[in-house]
């Protein structure tokens, strides 16, 4: 008789019990992965034959290698199929390994044996990891050998494959432990499945519910800063890891640590549950009786709240008045509380009669749901009133929505990665004038609350309310995000905004043309930069040196800008800037041979009349235009007046179903848009005097856009279509016509008269 009770023997014996999982893992990693890699490389090699013909041998060799390496990266790097399979295998392995705990028969067999619980756990746990690692590493090795044979291997492929292996292993561990925990807390496979899904999606559901309720009930909630993706999820952590790797080509130690820590904590909890798990739990819904009411309440409450939220939206849509539908919201929420609790109790007891048991849990769930609902409805915790005390604020970022964006600005970080305006401001805007900001916030919130209470039209004569995002950085390290509506027509608000928007910190954190990131980008030799200045119709290309000089001057001039003078002026022109970078790994067959994909950035920087130094530079270099049109280019101008007021009247008279919007755009369900069409009047001008007078008051529509400050705008009803002379240069590079608009109050009298609607 030989003693074989060593750990390795146990491991071997356990492997026999889970042979099919080993077989699946081996099939996937050792067979399918290398085969697909080989097929992929073969396909790439065949598809890249044109490269040898299109370029010299050395370049072709390098380009083909790049394509092959790209294929290797797609197979062995952070590939979706491997992640998917790793996830499935982790769940299967975790559940299969400990599935004996579902069966009394197996429990009697295993637990009757003189084997320590800890040893049995360790054997199964290690086996579950080995059946992932060993085939994965073997498959990786075979694939790399295939890659080497096809000259597709280089340092980057090895590094990425190793990084992906490490990250995938961490993800595997996280999911594996989550599956084991779900199993330890439940007594049969169906409930384990539910448990695993709850672990994966519970946080998401809670976050979704909270976001929904904040959006529904709080005026000053901003979606920016909200994280709907669960923080305590191996998938989110893995996603973060991959995102960082995509940008920086390194495994982010912080995210790797979080993922490992998560795995460790969940693993330890699973182990604790395993040690405490009673044998009699086999076949039951829940292993630990004490968890039953908590889990029931924790699932029922957010589910009921989500149901309430959905009904809330629905009722608003149908009745246009939330109070009319509040009965439905309460009814459906209560119904979900009762049904949810009953259903979970039925699952607990595997008996439909169990639905009526544990009424106390229904009451607790109902009370908690009602409390949360009331807390949001009446803002018990003062979310909407919250303004931090100025002495507790470290700095603030104030981000107007769609303000001074030129002809479309992109925000980007120092590495070129794209950002939103809020993301950029969060990183680069540190406003120190907190007293001024807090005064503006208080003033705006009071005024807005009053307006909401009176149900005033938010765009009426009392002022325009413009949306902004606030990011409070508190001294304790906390960051608070809020929305703010500012009355941009209010005098005191304007004074405060002058101070805020006029500050260097604001310009540094909001005006992308003033950004160091842009300056650095312009210094990169590998980037292709094109720049031009003009009014979006007349544009002149400028050299890179000129651009750099102009930007430097602009950045100085920007000190002159504040809320009021930007609001009260119209840009004389815009610097348009396009930067692009070729992506080295993206070789493809273009129309003219080898081409590469690019990523690019586009900016439009407004130049205002008060930027005197910039304008002087533009004048000196011949870019500046005194007028928005060159008279010598104009063949004729057609002015179109929509006469929206008259159109509205006509529509009413003709009892059309529909409405005319403030912008004069007619929406109708009627097939005949009689009022709108019949009120529009066209007038054509060719006389030089008339053309000159018209040309003085018109601007390209793209240059003058009504934005956050509700500053100078174009007349809503009037459009001027400029027809250029056929032989003019503008016809060649822009087109035969361009649409302009009249600046408010600058429609010549004769045009008004000619285009007025006459019955």
């Amino acid at each position: 008789m030989t003693s074989k009770s060593s750990f390795l023997v146990s491991l071997k014996e356990n492997s026999k019990r889970r042979l099919w999982v080993w077989v699946i893992s081996i099939l996937m990693f050792v067979l399918i992965l290398p085969v697909l890699t080989a097929f992929g490389l073969g396909g790439v090699a065949r598809g890249a034959e044109w490269i040898w013909e299109a370029t010299d041998a050395a370049t072709a060799k390098q380009l083909v290698h790049q394509k092959l390496a790209e294929m290797m990266l797609s197979m062995l790097g952070f590939s979706g199929p491997i992640v998917f399979f790793s996830t499935i295998l982790a769940v299967v392995s975790g559940v299969q390994g400990f599935s004996y705990l579902y069966s009394r028969k197996k429990i009697d067999f295993y637990m009757g044996m003189p084997v320590k619980k800890s040893k049995r756990f360790l054997v199964i746990w290690i086996n579950g990891i080995l059946l992932y690692i060993v085939p994965y590493m073997a498959g990786l090795a075979v694939s790399l050998i295939i890659g080497a044979g096809n000259k597709a291997l280089d340092g980057e492929v090895l590094y990425t494959a190793a990084s992906a292996f490490l990250a995938n292993l961490c993800l595997y561990l996280g999911v594996y432990h989550l599956a084991i925990l779900a199993l330890m807390m439940t007594g049969n496979i169906v409930i384990t499945g539910f448990g695993f899904l709850v672990f994966c999606f519970y946080e998401f559901m809670v976050r979704y519910t909270l976001v929904g309720y904040k959006q529904e009930f709080f005026d000053y909630y901003t979606y920016y800063g909200t994280k709907e993706t669960p923080g305590l999820s191996p998938f989110t952590m893995y996603g973060n890891l991959v995102n960082v790797f995509d940008y920086k080509n390194v495994i982010d130690v912080k995210y790797l640590f979080f993922l490992l820590l998560f795995s460790l904590v969940v693993g330890l909890i699973s182990y604790g549950c395993y040690l405490k798990r009673p044998a009699e739990a086999a076949g039951k819904a829940m292993t630990f009786g004490i968890t039953r009411p908590f889990i029931k309440v924790l699932i029922t409450v957010p589910t009921a709240l989500v149901a309430g939220l959905m009904v809330f939206d629905r009722v608003n849509m149908d009745f246009n008045d939330s109070k009319e539908g509040i009965g439905w919201v309460i009814f459906i929420t209560a119904l979900v509380v009762v049904l949810g609790s009953a259903l979970i109790q039925v699952i607990y007891e595997f008996d439909i009669k169990g639905a009526l048991h544990k009424k106390r849990d229904i009451l607790i769930s109902g009370a908690l749901t009602a409390f949360i609902f009331i807390a949001f409805q009446y803002d018990i915790f003062g979310y909407d009133d919250y303004i931090p005390s100025p002495d507790k604020i470290e700095s603030i970022a104030f981000i107007p929505e769609n303000y001074e964006q030129g002809t479309g600005s992109m925000y980007f970080d120092s590495d070129g990665s794209y950002l939103t305006a809020e993301g950029y401001a969060e990183k680069y805007m540190y406003l120190q004038n907190t007293d001024t900001l807090c005064e503006l916030i208080k003033l705006s919130m009071d005024g807005h609350n009053e307006a909401v209470k009176k149900n005033e039209d938010m765009e009426a004569d009392k002022g325009h309310w413009s949306y902004s995002t606030l990011i409070y950085r508190l001294k304790g390290g906390r960051t608070v995000y809020r929305a703010l509506w500012v009355n941009v027509d209010d005098e005191r608000s304007g004074q405060l905004l002058d101070e805020i928007i006029g500050s260097d910190e604001f310009k540094k954190g909001y005006m992308i043309g003033n950004s160091d990131n842009l300056n650095r980008m312009l210094e990169k030799e590998t980037y292709t930069i094109t720049a031009s200045y003009g009014n979006t119709i007349y544009m002149e290309r400028m050299s890179l040196n000129e651009l750099k000089e102009l930007l430097e001057i602009y950045q100085r001039d920007l000190a002159l800008a504040n809320f009021s003078n930007v609001k009260n002026n119209v840009p004389t022109g815009v610097i348009e800037l396009a930067v692009s970078e070729e992506l080295p790994w993206s070789v493809y067959k273009g129309a003219s041979g080898i081409a590469r994909s690019t990523r690019g950035w586009e900016l439009g920087i407004n130049i205002y009349p008060f930027y005197e130094e910039s304008i002087a530079y533009l004048k000196n270099h011949g870019y500046y235009m005194d007028t928005q049109l060159k008279m010598e280019d104009i063949a004729s101008i057609q002015v179109v007046n929509d006469n929206s007021e008259a159109a509205r009247k006509l529509a009413k008279e003709q009892e059309l179903t529909g409405d005319v919007s403030a912008e004069g755009v007619f929406y109708s369900t009627a097939s005949k848009v009689a009022g709108y069409d019949s009120a529009r009047v066209y007038a054509d001008y060719t006389k030089e005097e008339q053309l000159k007078e018209i040309a003085e008051g018109i601007y390209p529509q793209e240059l003058v856009q009504s934005d956050w400050d509700w500053g100078k705008d174009l007349e809503k009803d009037y459009r001027a279509v400029i027809y250029f002379k056929a032989d003019s240069p503008i016809t060649k590079y822009y087109g035969a016509s361009a649409t302009y608009g009249f600046l408010e109050g600058q429609v010549p009298d004769f045009v008004r008269e000619d285009t007025a609607y006459k019955e």
């Binding site: 074989k4 019990r17 044996m113 044998a279």
Partner: protein, 301 residues
């Protein structure tokens, strides 16, 4: 010795075992008898260290059993539905058990397989129910443990097999002092195997005694008294547990040893007298009726 002291165990607030105390001596075959739901399996699962008692203690040779490897090494537990690995054969089971029980008797194992006509290469899931029970018993016997816990393992075995197992038990008891503990709901199945019997009912122990003691202390007498006075005199002198009268024939179940009882009958006149052997069933009926239970309903259905 297995000592079960004031052990209680509940499932979902239903008491399966309530304050049970039993001692199981070494070198005996202990029979644990009770109806379905009496708590036999729960007691055995607790003794095997599978379940943890809520109250009370279970000690194997003085060692607490739950989560104690030293105590568990002394036990092999055969559940009412023995488990074998999926798609395994007897050899696979032997290999696994060898890794767990260092004293596993491999040679004996294969000898027993041959003796019982079990094919070592045949997949166990193709075995009949009885064959699986035989294999489980062989595994248990060969494990080399001191205590062998069998839950309903003999139910359904044919007499030949039972006899075979009985002889294996006898030789193992003699050779290495093995102590089988056999739970069953059927008295007749245990009668020829057990030395000591414990009766469980509704989670508690009704009685626990040596079979021989019980047999010696209860006698069954069939007699016809000459006169009514003789009958009255004898009944007065005897500790009668049960008296069935069929015409003039008295069938008496009497507590006491045989010599004392015969001495009493020597003092009265009888027309006919005969001392009959008692079955385990009859002993149980008598013992339990004394404490107010109808064992026919409890055990025999």
């Amino acid at each position: 010795m297995i000592e079960i002291r004031n052990v209680t165990k509940s499932y979902d607030k239903i008491k399966a075992v309530d304050d049970v105390s039993v001692s199981i001596k070494e070198n005996t075959v202990f029979g644990l008898i009770g109806t379905n739901g009496a708590g036999k399996s729960t007691v055995l699962r607790m003794v095997a260290g599978v379940l943890e008692p809520e109250k009370g203690e279970i000690a194997i040779d003085g060692l607490p059993v739950f989560d104690n490897m030293e105590a568990k090494k002394k036990i092999y537990f055969i559940a009412d539905e023995p488990y074998f690995f999926a798609n395994s054969n007897a050899t696979d089971m032997q290999r696994y058990l060898c890794s767990v029980y260092p004293e596993f008797a491999v040679e004996d194992f294969y000898n027993y397989l041959v003796n019982f006509g079990l094919d070592k290469k045949r997949k166990i899931n193709t075995y009949s129910k009885g064959m699986k029970k035989q294999l489980a018993l062989i595994c248990g016997v060969c494990s080399g443990t001191k205590y062998l816990l069998c839950d309903e393992t003999f139910d359904g075995l044919d007499p030949v097999m039972r006899q075979g197992i009985k002889s294996i038990f006898a030789s193992e008891i003699e050779r290495r002092g093995m102590t089988p503990v056999i739970a069953s709901h059927n008295l007749r199945e245990l009668e020829d195997i057990c030395d000591h019997v414990g009766l469980l009912h509704k989670g508690g122990v009704l009685l626990s005694k040596d079979l021989e003691d019980m047999k010696c202390n209860i006698q069954k007498i069939q007699c016809v008294f000459k006169t009514i006075d003789d009958e009255a005199k004898a009944i007065k002198a005897l500790d009668i547990m049960k008296n069935e009268k069929r015409g003039s024939l008295n069938v008496l179940t009497v507590r006491g040893n045989k010599a004392e009882i015969l001495a009493v009958f020597a003092t009265v006149n009888t027309i006919f007298f005969e001392a009959l052997p008692l079955s385990l069933e009859e002993i149980f009926i008598s013992e339990t009726e004394v404490v107010g239970y109808d064992v026919k309903k409890l055990i025999l259905g």
